[in-house]
Amino acid sequence: MTPESSIYVAILLPLAGAVGIALAGRISANIREAVTLVTSLALIAVVWGLLPELMAGGRPGITLGEVLPGLSIAFTVEPLGMLFAALASGLWLINSVYSIGYMRGNQEKNQTRFYTCFALALAATMGVAFAGNLFTLFLFYELLTLSTYPLVSHKGDKATVRSARVYLGVLLTTSIGLFLPAIIWTYVAAGTGDFRLGGILAGRLNDPEIGLLLALFVFGIGKAAVMPVHRWLPAAMVAPTPVSALLHAVAVVKAGVFAITKIIVYIFGIDFLFLSDSAGWLLYLAAFTIIAASLVALRQTNIKRLLAYSTIAQLSYVVMAAAILKPLAEVGAAVHIVAHAFGKITLFFAAGAIYVASKKTEVHQLRGIGRRMPWTMAAFTVGALSMIGVPPTGGFVSKWYILAGAFEANNLVAIFTIIISTVLNAAYFLPILYMAWFERESADAPAHGEAPLLAVLALSITALLTLAFFLFHGPVIELESQVVMGVNL
């Protein structure tokens, strides 16, 4: 398969899978699950098959056609997008295994709709990852919002629908109200919306227009959950946990920070933005989000909401690193996309496993649960340590690179933010670990065992990945360095 046709297939395959899942759902649940698993395996093969070309410096691309003059649907594979697509496709498989265990263990309704929308969301994610210009990115970004709405509102009861309304409301308001005008402004100013190394705005915009356009992009890409457009994330916790795992590790939030990073690198250009006077605020905003979100997380009693606020903070690590505008920090931003994904998906898998096994949702209910669910809590421990950034987890690697970039730029704000937030992360994760492992549960607590096998299998795999990333992160560094070294495109 040529690289160009791989791009087509990467988007069409999950779409075809969605149709297959919907049809298979009428026949049998096992066949339906099989379709999901086969589709995700095939997607991994297609997407990861693009890696050799990328590592060698190739940048395959295709243009589907012009919709309006100057506005075309085009795809280009470059290191950032490759990273995102590889991450999403790989984790979809594991998430699907987990979903089977969770959905069956919880005896959830409407499972066919669930798996179908999952596949649709993955198709949209592939489109976002491989977008070659702003219009294509926007198209698939919106499709991602719409395809994840049925997943967030899955339960269908009043409270869920209300929260899903917040989810959709914030994401659509930011994308139509801020992201779209930013895109149109870029097209009008630069004449094009193509992603090009070094940016397309040099000589077209001056301060303070640059800062304003950047603000429209950053707040318009609501999926990155930079404050104050972060409210949709805690609201989305009403979704079943496999959906939260998808939202927080695989597709939606990563699409947000990926889009911001891509726009900083390929629309503005790292050097262009560094020289501009009106773009410095982004770093402070990201730093504020990190600290504020970590403080809010400290006060959360619901496990998933705590993880939601932790995610908001971790996402702003990526934004802050990208905003440092130094090579090492840009690499750190990309690496953190991966490291956080592994760690957070593990944490959510564990939270969901706990719910399936014991119906527990609050932090204080986790007293002594380590004894009953050792595998789950071991994975949770690994994920938590990765969030804090303790070796030998993947979180340590990305934090290292971000800190190195901060030192390179002599940015004291960034350095202190990382230190303080690490302390805060420890402050809300370590007590949970202590409670789970070293305290005894109350005498009248109902007995329960481990989570379903498939769920435990999935979370063990992601925990191992978190540990493995500490050792085997080299190829990721190598690939992302190509971006900052200016290779090709």
């Binding site: 219009f135 198209l139 919106e142 719409l146 139509i176 149109i184 402004w185 009008v188």
Partner: protein, 496 residues
């Protein structure tokens, strides 16, 4: 005999002459079949005409061979052909789907009269579009209006009668104002032919009567076009009409009036009166902005599905008027595209509503709870057309929205304020479309009657055809876009 040359006349004559023949088709189902066949033939004629004028050609036709300006002249150019496609397309689609819905709402004995009135309305609207003569436009305007009144009042809903009465009064005032304006121009120039008017106005010394004429014509057409604040007849008329009539009228009736307004203003007044384009913009833009914001806001709180969509239509007319008031080729192209795209979106939405109405008597949102569980295909088509209304990328509505925003940005320093209005109203559209979605998919099933099954296949197929067209023209808008650009070029060239 060259058929192509006679198409402009045939476009009007085929439905007009078929109308009385339909009355004779008494056996059940035959009246519908006859009307649908005529509508499809008219659509074919419109497609042929569009193909002929693509590329900036203009087809002129003289009725009876009498040369203009003595005879009645017809003219088809890119702008007319786009409107012809919209009107015949809406008519054909609505009629194709009509049978189950009309059978439910209108007694069999009255159906031949009903379909006959439909064809009269169709021929009236088409006549307006192809006419190149101001009085001819008036004649066809009256034909289409009177036929529309019959259509709207034809259903079982008794509240349609006061609604039609209101529409009749306002519509007649509008037509009368238009006629007064035309009369004034005739006094000053001695001609009723539009092209001739344009020439002769250059020789007129006393321009005040012409300005007054412009005022009368603009107000009259604004009434017919449901421009805010003259739109008050729309919600009730659309709500209480038979459902298929709403599909047809919502897709094209007001747009034809807007077409006449734009053509008159750009081709006659702006070329004759100094600074008239500024006056037009100063009149049209604030009303358009108010209409967009207020009508969208009303729709956000509306409880009845049809009335909600009717308010939305008033807002969308505001978009078209706003585009026209930008006075640029880009603006006009955006507005013309939106005529096409909105017809697709609103037509599709009302088709889905007709499907829902087949099973649900009461179309208030709180009575439609949980409809999606029993009518998934209907609600799916509604959602797709709703996305097009909002302007989600990948749908036709996004194309015209992009064009409008780009045109607004390039129109001057106030462009940003206009863009803000468009975006805010898009968000309001998200709110009211999502209210419908939430009611259909998550609403509590009300006690009382519930849908037992999906809508009939005939209704569903046409609804989904329109929904798919919304998606198709969102990715391949080249054909309507070419026509829109040609139309804009025709209108703006030669203007100051």
């Amino acid at each position: 005999m060259d058929l192509l040359a006679h198409l402009p006349a045939l476009q009007v004559l085929i439905p007009m002459l078929s109308a009385p023949l339909i009355v004779l088709l008494q056996p059940r189902g035959l009246a519908w079949a006859g009307a649908t066949a005529v509508a499809l033939v008219s659509l074919a004629v419109a497609v042929a005409l569009s193909a002929a004028v693509m590329g900036g050609e203009v087809m002129d036709y003289e009725m009876g061979g009498w040369p203009a300006p003595f005879g009645i002249a017809l003219s088809v150019d890119a702008l007319s052909s786009l409107l012809l496609l919209v009107v015949t397309g809406a008519g054909a689609a609505a009629l194709l789907a009509a049978k189950p819905s009309v059978d439910q709402q209108i007694e069999l004995e009255r159906q031949p009269l009903f379909y006959s009135a439909w064809l009269l309305a169709l021929s009236g609207l088409l006549g307006i579009v192809v006419s190149a003569d101001a009085f001819n436009i008036f004649v066809f305007m009256e034909i289409s209006s009177l036929a529309s009144y019959i259509l709207i009042a034809g259903g079982p809903d008794r509240r349609a009668l006061p609604s039609v009465f209101k529409y009749l009064i306002m519509g007649t005032i509008g037509a009368t104002f238009y006629l007064i304006g035309v009369g004034l121009i005739y006094m000053m120039t001695g001609t009723l032919n539009l092209a001739d008017m344009e020439l002769r106005l250059g020789d007129v010394l006393e321009l005040n009567p012409v300005l007054v004429a412009a005022g009368f014509i603009t107000i009259g057409l604004a009434l017919k076009a449901a421009v805010f604040p003259l739109h008050v007849w729309v919600p009730n008329a659309y709500t209480h009409a038979p459902h298929m009539v709403t599909v047809f009228l919502a897709a094209c009736a007001t747009k034809v009036a807007l077409y006449v307004l734009i053509r008159f203003d750009y081709m006659v007044f702006q070329r004759a009166l100094d600074e008239h384009e500024i006056q037009f913009a100063l009149f049209a833009m604030p009303l358009a902005l108010l209409g967009i914001l207020i009508a969208s806001a009303v729709a956000m709180f509306e409880g009845h599905l049809k009335r909600l969509l009717a308010s939305s239509s008033v807002a969308q007319i505001g978009y078209i008027l706003l585009s026209a008031s930008l006075l640029s080729a880009e603006g006009l192209a955006a507005g013309t595209m939106h005529i096409f795209n909105h017809a697709l979106a609103k037509g599709g939405l009302f088709l889905a509503v007709a499907c829902l109405a087949y099973q649900y008597r009461d179309l208030r949102l709180d009575q439609l709870g949980g409809a999606a569980a029993r009518m998934p295909w209907t609600c799916g088509a509604l959602v797709v057309c709703g996305f097009s209304l909002i302007g989600i990328p990948g749908t036709a509505g996004f194309i015209s929205k992009w064009l409008l925003i780009t045109a607004a940005l390039e129109s001057g320093p106030w462009g940003w304020a206009l863009v803000a209005v468009v975006l805010v109203s898009s968000l309001m559209a998200v709110v009211y479309v999502w209210r419908i979605v939430e009611a259909l998919y998550f609403g509590e099933t009300p006690a009382g009657e519930q849908a037992t099954s999906e809508a009939p296949l005939q209704l569903l197929l046409v609804a989904w055809l329109i929904a798919i067209l919304n998606l198709y023209f969102g990715v391949f808008p080249q054909v309507p876009l070419t026509l829109a650009n040609d139309a804009a070029a025709l209108l703006v060239e030669g203007a100051l």
